[in-house]
């Protein structure tokens, strides 16, 4: 009975996202996988809307060929933690408080996401998140898988 309860708890409890400092980001280590790289912030409403969809992608595509990496751009760490207390995230989060990586990627809007192929090349860039376009985003991912 105890084992059953433990199993049930594991199934229903949300998978906790790991939060890392931006200096630990190593995109090269993900070569061989299709990567969906997403830049977000706690105050950005479309970013919040994209989270359930990104969680569903992880459940839909095999982990050995697809991964999601997100970069949080909140200047305040507390704001990020408050957001993650309310919104479920199944993917790893790198915190870039100073916006150094955002500057390198020349982010033009929030959220911005990049689709990176298995060789590590950026093949698509999406500025903003629109639920009506999720089918298109998924087709783009599937073309690379």
């Amino acid at each position: 009975m105890k084992k059953l309860l433990l199993l049930l708890l594991l199934v229903i409890s949300p998978v906790k996202a790991e939060i890392y400092d931006i200096n630990r980001l190593d995109l090269k280590s993900h070569q061989g996988k299709v990567v969906y790289l997403d830049f977000w912030a706690s105050w950005c409403k479309p970013c919040k809307e994209s989270f359930p969809w990104m969680n569903s992608l992880l459940a839909k595509y095999p982990a050995d060929s697809f991964t999601i990496i997100t970069i949080n751009l909140d200047a305040e760490t507390d704001a990020m933690h408050r957001f993650l207390g309310k919104v479920k995230a199944d993917f790893d989060i790198y915190h870039d408080a100073s916006g150094q990586i955002a500057e390198q990627f020349e982010i033009e809007g929030m959220p911005t996401s990049y689709l990176i192929d298995r060789s590590g090349k950026v093949v698509k860039k999406h500025i903003g998140f629109y639920t009506k376009h999720t089918g298109k985003y998924e087709r783009e991912i599937e073309e690379l898988l």
Binding site: F39, A41, S42, W43, C44, K45, P46, L73, D74, A75, E76, A79, G99, A102, E103, I107, E108, G109, M110, T112, I127, G128, F129, Y130
Partner: protein, 73 residues
Amino acid sequence: MTAKYHWLILGVVIAASGCSSLGVKPWERNVLAQDDMLMDTDAIDLALDEHIYFSKEASSGGQGFAGGGCGCN
């Protein structure tokens, strides 16, 4: 005389480059994106204003900073 012009050009270049970093980067809009920063607290008022600007002046957007999906309007 030439030296004076050099100083003048240098001054203009320095003054003009001071404007090059104006504006807020998309990821720095946390305060601007708050509801308190909207032009009006009432959503219906905002929608009416937006409609008036769109129909009378052929312009839209600029009423807030977090909407539009991309944070760029």
